[in-house]
């Protein structure tokens, strides 16, 4: 938890339980609530009426892609749970949609609420008293399942240890820099600029690795997003249907709310998988031309695995070849050729007969292989090796730490004063502390004294 919450921020959070449900609600509370909601829900009026519901489509302000139909309920200041101006937006209860909604709000300037912060604000505004607040909190706590709590505990343990290590490293390095500043006349054997920079780089990479692993582990929480890409006539839809139809463990299936995508959530060997049937890429031909192929792929950053669908009944089209050759390297990709029941001899050098999978949505041939490949692409991570399941807030704070260390590195590189390196590091350290809910103490000085022979 942050050391102090800034009560002036507009905050948002999902207030219904995580996981699938009919409806999921995000609450936005604070003086900028209406402004922020308007970015997500353009239909929302400037001066809404209190306790009135507004219906419309939620969209991503960057792409103007609509992604769900929602109902936004407005509460004016003094008439809401928190006492502040509040909007509650009801989405369909899919974690993907809700996370997307939250991400958009955060990008537009909202802050994710800390646990209990809505209640805290309710107390601040005098809506309820502390006793009531405590009652609410215990009510919420009592409802949380014990097993989940246990799991959270375990995860927190190992995650804390990792963060603690980064913190120790940061403190140790700061001690060197501070000693160099405060005991300049002592002729201490502190690290050189180059060494400082090297250590900063190591520290940054260490945390980047944590973030990367967390990103890889994320599907366990949010689901592994598998995108089916290909030209319109290659049979993606039938492929999707075949995969859904074949699978008995369907969690849900419903048409996407945007005009050109269909999503299905499946459970493959215990791994939640979200299959996304993207629009036929050619539909976006204009867009492709405008943005270039590389950009087209970038637009699909949310996708964890790209399944590129070709047509085994014909040669690769030039457009397909282009798309195929430009799939970003860092993306996991699987190339499949559908309609293998009508297979022709493919001659394109881009077809890898060893690695590529030949499937048939019609006969079901190769679908198991595809599933296996998809699961493998995520990696057969053992429990220990798995990255941490980080909440968006944690990811955000740790990314801020990484960014701060990077700035410190650059200052060290430019040979600017130690105090500026220290400034960035102190700020970064505060982020780590924030992540752990700790205060900044005197450790840096303690470390200085334990490491150096100092005598005025």
């Amino acid at each position: 938890m942050a050391r102090y919450r800034n009560d002036a921020d507009t905050i948002c959070a999902q207030i219904t339980p995580y996981g699938q449900s009919g409806v999921g609600v995000i609450r936005i509370s604070g003086s900028a609530a209406v402004q922020q909601v308007k970015k997500l829900c353009p239909f929302f009026p400037d001066s809404p009426e209190s306790h009135r519901a507004y219906y419309g489509m939620a969209e991503d302000p960057a792409t103007h892609k609509k992604f769900d139909e929602v109902i936004a309920l407005y509460f004016k200041k003094g008439k809401s749970f928190t006492g502040e101006e509040t909007v509650e937006v009801s989405f369909h209860g899919n974690p993907i949609i809700l996370n997307r909604g939250l991400e958009i709000l955060v990008q537009s300037g909202c802050r994710l609420a800390e646990p209990g912060e809505f209640t805290y604000r309710a107390v601040l505004s005098g809506r309820i008293d502390l006793l009531q607040a405590e009652n609410i909190l215990s009510l919420i706590q009592a409802q949380s399942p014990r097993a989940l709590e246990q799991l959270t505990h375990q995860l927190q343990g190992s995650f804390s240890k990792t963060i603690l290590e980064a913190e120790h490293e940061t403190v140790a390095l700061l001690a060197q820099i501070e000693a160099n500043i405060d005991f300049a006349v002592e002729n201490l054997e502190t690290l050189t600029r180059k060494e400082v920079q090297g250590k900063l780089t190591l520290l940054r990479k260490y945390c980047e690795e944590v973030l990367l692993k967390a990103e890889q582990a994320r599907p366990a929480l949010d689901g592994l997003k598998v995108g089916l890409f290909g030209l319109p006539n290659v049979g993606k839809s039938s492929l999707l249907n075949a995969l859904i139809g074949q699978d008995r463990a369907i969690v849900s299936s419903r048409p996407g709310t945007t005009r050109d995508r269909v999503e299905a959530q499946l459970l493959w060997e215990g791994v939640p998988v979200i299959l996304i049937d993207t629009a036929g890429l050619r539909n976006d031909a204009e867009e492709i031309e405008e943005l270039g192929i590389a950009k087209t792929w970038e637009a699909w950053t949310e996708v964890d695995v790209i399944v590129f669908v070709g047509d085994a009944s014909r040669e690769l089209e030039q457009e397909e070849a282009q798309l195929l050759s430009q799939i970003p390297e860092h993306k996991k990709k699987i190339v499949i050729f559908n309609k293998c029941d009508q297979r022709k001899n493919l001659s394109s050098p881009l077809v890898d007969f060893e690695a590529d999978i030949f499937v048939s949505a019609k006969t079901g041939e190769g679908l198991d292989v595809l599933k296996q490949k998809v699961l493998e692409s995520w990696g057969n991570q053992t429990q220990e090796d798995q990255g941490f399941l980080m909440r968006p807030r944690q990811r955000q704070v740790l990314s801020e730490f990484v960014a701060g260390i990077l700035r410190a590195e650059n200052i060290a590189l430019r040979e600017e004063g130690d105090e500026f390196v220290a400034f960035e590091m102190h700020e970064a350290l505060a982020k780590l502390r924030q992540l752990q809910g700790k205060d900044v103490g005197e450790e840096v000085l303690d470390q200085v004294f334990s490491e150096f022979c100092i005598g005025k």
Partner: protein
Amino acid sequence: MSSRRIIVVGAGHAGVEAAAVCARKGFETMLITSRLDRIAAMSCNPSIGGLAKGHMVREIDILGGLMGRVADQTCIQFKRLNSKKGPAVRGSRAQCDKDLYAATMRALLETIPNLTLFEGEVHSLDVREKKCQGVYLKDGSHIPAASVIITTGTFMNGVLFVGDQKTSGGRIGEAATQGISDQLREWGFDVRRLKTGTPARLHRDSIDWSVTEPQHGDEEFYPFSIYSSAKPLLPQVACYLTHTTQKTHEIIRENLHRSPLYAGLIEGVGPRYCPSIEDKVVRFEHKERHQTFLEPEGLNTDLIYLQGISTSLPQDVQDQFLRTIRGLENVKVARYGYAVEYDFIEPTQINSYLETRSIEGLYLAGQINGTSGYEEAAAQGFLAGVNASLKLEEKEPFLLKRHEAYMGVLVDDLVTKGTLEPYRMFTSRAEYRLLLREDNTHVRLLNYAERLNLHEPAAIDKMREDVAKHHELVKKLEETIIYPNKKANDVLIELQSPVLQKPQSAASIIRRSGLDIHVATQFGVDIHGYPRGTLDSAEIEIKYSGYIHRQNDFIDQMSRIEDERLPMNLDYSSVRGLSMEEVEKLTSVQPVTLGQASRLSGVNPSAIQAISIYLKTRARRPQELQ
């Protein structure tokens, strides 16, 4: 009459500042010391200032204290430490002629009306109805007063150690004082022991200077005080660098059992940043040698201070090991090093105005609060004097915030965190280090200087003018636009800096790495006529504006809790959601602001929220009833 009297007990660096403020505020001030000839003695090293300490000396000076001007007048070597580092962490240090320093300070005190220097020994405090109403002297006489400021340094139950010789004393050759701390202990104060030490003083003529390296001061002199001349008044001298040897370490190791510290005679905690040579040899076993500087204690004395080699080993061991240091083969010791152990009052028992929480009108400043250093003492003495005066004037107390001055950091650290070892100021203690620079002291503190009104009118006018010039110059450079024409770009090419693509402010050009404020003239901005200090402070503010903005943003974020004042005697046990430990801590410390409460060790962020909620709901309740 006694309702206008303030007594200051002890005339060290804290005492003289405290007394000077009270007297200039019009109070009949009595500065009581057991030795009038030892006023403002520099008991240990011969320097004033240094990193973070130099900052405080400037702050004291801007607010109206004395230390800076006396240090300037008696400076025999000036150095700006960290001159190769950034401006926020440069610290001025003046090595002073010790005797002249003391004499000059005394002469200055003697010019202050209402101030009586009184030789005598205070035996006990006159406290009635939880209020300090005067002191009793050793001879039994009683002096009534409205407030008493205690600045007894290392003298309270002071014990000196040289080897296994243990004698009562506050400083070598001077008796300790007994009574006050025992009394405080009886009244329930948490009184503890600290230890510090000092090296041997050597005879100048007995040193072989030829094998040492001279260390000269800086050419440029940056006086601490707005009252000082631009050049040092006294001839400048050099210090000399030499080193210990393996043999030195061997001798010390062999005789460790004779060190009072290692033999367990000393219970007080010593400063980690100023370890004795015994400590250094033990803790840094691998180190082949330790540096030491031979520093003249003055122009007219043959005493040489051996910096960095404080020790409490027996005299014969000191004689032995000193002679293994290069250049000291035939050294004659004028005064042996020793350790001193003394009482201090755990400082969380005073409030932010340096007044004890449990006894009204009783102020503590300096080493009695667990600090070390002349500058730390002077800063507290000054603030204690200010607050004792303001209280008697029934005015708002004086409090500097952590982002305003090192003096604010000092007091806040002491009263919220307390200390377990002699507390010394470091730049790393200030979270707003980039704002708390020497160059902008006047900009930071002008408002306070005006409020305290301790300066001569001409000095305040000068300060106002300097601050105005600073703002004017920064504004001018930020607002002057340089256009990307041939003339401007030719200058940049000459300076090997990228040419302009679009119009930019003169300030943004100064911000470029490798360029400084003087380039402004080449773009036709007239900066002639601004004094050196203004050019420095403006340049630094411009060059580091990015960082300065970030720190200011943070202060703004924090101001919400930092400025939230807590009512006196708040009943923390009635605040829901606090742990027993938190209630206890908060009740004993009684923080002044919510920000201060947040810095108490053992008080969690959630407690701060709980208090905040409590205050808000409490404030609202009466309205609701209406």
